[in-house]
Structures are given as structure tokens and as C-alpha cells.
Symmetry: C2
DNA sequence: CTGTATCCTTAAAGATACTG
DNA sequence: CAGTATCTTTAAGGATACAG
């Protein structure tokens, strides 16, 4: 993107994740890798991506430890590392969302375990069981900086303002 | 992005998802919305995003039914719809990945349920229990088009080629 | 405060030719 | 086959001024 902002200041793991895998091609390359694609040319044909773009992405992905390059130098293969494979839940969750809300429950790709049993919709869980989207809470974590902490403080203040402006006036 | 490719041809729910929410700002706006941000100016300050960019994103998000605009026209609030809230698992999964692999297990933001109990790392499950990234399988789904089917066929062929060229030669 | 309208900059995407 | 090197295009991002 043109005047690309540096998101690293945002002190947020989501922003940090997006800095590494946050563009279309990167995510789709990882998807292909999950599917079993290994070769430069196969990625290229599968995605219809220009060679220079693909080369850049693969280099970035190997540099950030998400994929490894192996095999002959003339005809290497690219594979996901553990770091990369651990993106699986996020990828599947994104796919499931698209299955439901964009593909109208008519998934182009089915996800199963190795015995062909469907992977269930991804859910959030805590010690108390399933956590609905409504009941999820966010708060500053151990890695929060001053800006993040004040952000949450202000958020809290705004929440106390809006819903109950009765007695205050 | 400049010469933006039309991913809708890719016949993949991930690509389709990325067409809707697949850029930095959109995802970060949704994150903020999850955190409780509601107002134009708050999004703007929180993210450090230009006003026109924010306006475009909010319009796209409401047009695609992920957020709704409510309240006075002069000072509206933006909230996630169900469609938007269902992105929660994917967002949290992405955050968790960043927590572990980029923020070095020092999360800026902690995610809990409404009783303060930590949300567990997102896992994939099937009728057989937890599904490891290694054992996940993909196959053409009901919505697969001819291109997707042949893609999987070729992938299968390649897999049979590489690992066992013994008897064939 | 919440936008819209402009203008400008720039970097990302793509096409193409070429190399080991 | 797997890239690298260029060149061009273009649209996204940002800044600013202005409006309701």
C-alpha cells in the first residue's frame, strides 16, 4: 500500500500479526501451502499471481519463519514451519466465516480431519465452557504499554458515560 | 492495492472473506469495535487513520452488513452486527498467533470471558476430538467449481508422484 | 463531531524480458 | 523451472480544507 502506516506502534497482537501475514497474497499462499502446494510454479498457477510478487512473498514468509525453503536450489520446495502451521485455526476460522456469510453455506472447500469427519465451527472456550462473542472481554495484558492502558481507561470512562447519563445531569 | 486482482474467481471462502475484511484497517476497525469503540472520532484517534479512509471503511463495513450505523445522523454510533460478531473467533485466533509468535507470549491485550477467565487457545475439533494442524484435510466442497476440482485432482496426482517414485521407475 | 471533496504521493501490483 | 531486473500503471493511503 502507498503511504503505509507503521502498525507496530499499535501495541496489539492483531496488528502485529497483520504486519506479517496481513495481505491477500500472503494469506492465500499459506492457504495453498496448507492444501499441499509446494512449488513456485504451482503457487503461481494456482493463484494467478505475478512471479515477482510471489517471489517477494515467499522470501518474506521464509524470512519470518513461517515457511522453509528446501530441496535443490534449482527446484526448491516451500513448506510451512510449525509457526506457519499454527496459523491453521485462524485460517480455518476465516474460511468458515466466508463459508457461512459469503459462500452462503455452500463451501468450495471442505475441511475435515484425517478420517473425513468435518471440522466443527471454531468456538471460543474458557474454563467456564464456551464463550459467546457477546461475553468476550478485553483488558490490558502483561505486554500493554501506557498508550494501551490509557486507551482501555478511556474506553471504560466512555462506557460509564453513555449508558447512564441520568444522575449526572 | 494498485493493480488489484479480482479474487472472486478463486472459488475459495478464504479469498472471499479477504475481499470483505482483508485489509489492515478493516480488521483493526473491527477489532476496535469488539473492544467497544463506537464513534467515528474514537476509531480515528485509536488507529491514527485518516478520516477519508475511515469513512470509506465504515461505509464498506455497513454496506456488507458487518456493522450498523445507528443514532443521530450528526453523531452516529457504529456497532457490529451478528455477521460481524461472528468474526470473533477468527480475530481472536489471529491475535493469539501474534501473542505467541510476535509478541513473545507477552500479550498487549488479554482476552477473557465475562468472569475474567482466560479464553483458551483456539483449537480445531471434529467428532473425533481435537484435530491437529497435521491431520487436517481439505477436499472439494459442495460449492466447488470445475477449476477447484481439477486443482485438487492435480494436487493428488503430484502427491502420488513425489513421495513414491519407486515402483514407477 | 462527522463526515465529504481534492489533491498529492508512493509503493504495491502487474507485465515483460532475461538469466542460471 | 525458478527466479531477478525493469518499467509502467494505478489505486490506496494521507493531508488538508471545507461543509452540515
Amino acid at each position: 500500500m502507498p503511504g503505509k502506516t507503521d502498525l507496530s506502534e499499535l501495541n496489539c497482537s492483531l496488528a502485529r500479526t497483520l504486519e506479517v501475514v496481513g495481505d491477500w497474497w500472503t494469506l492465500l499462499i499459506i492457504r495453498d501451502a496448507f492444501l499441499g502446494v509446494r512449488r513456485f510454479g504451482d503457487f503461481q498457477r494456482s493463484l494467478g499471481i505475478a512471479k515477482n510478487i510471489l517471489a517477494t512473498r515467499l522470501e518474506r514468509l521464509t524470512a519470518s519463519g513461517i515457511m522453509t525453503r528446501a530441496g535443490s536450489d534449482a527446484r526448491p520446495t516451500y513448506q510451512l514451519t510449525e509457526r506457519g502451521r499454527e496459523l491453521m485455526p485462524a485460517m480455518v476460522a476465516l474460511m468458515q466465516w466466508g463459508d457461512k456469510w459469503v459462500s452462503a453455506n455452500n463451501p468450495p472447500v471442505a475441511v475435515t480431519d484425517d478420517k473425513g469427519r468435518a471440522v466443527a465451527p471454531v468456538r471460543l472456550r474458557s474454563a467456564g465452557g464456551e464463550v459467546s462473542a457477546q461475553s468476550v472481554r478485553f483488558r490490558p495484558g502483561p505486554g500493554a504499554n501506557a498508550r494501551t492502558r490509557s486507551f482501555f481507561r478511556e474506553l471504560e470512562a466512555a462506557r460509564n458515560d453513555a449508558p447512564a447519563p441520568a444522575g449526572s445531569r
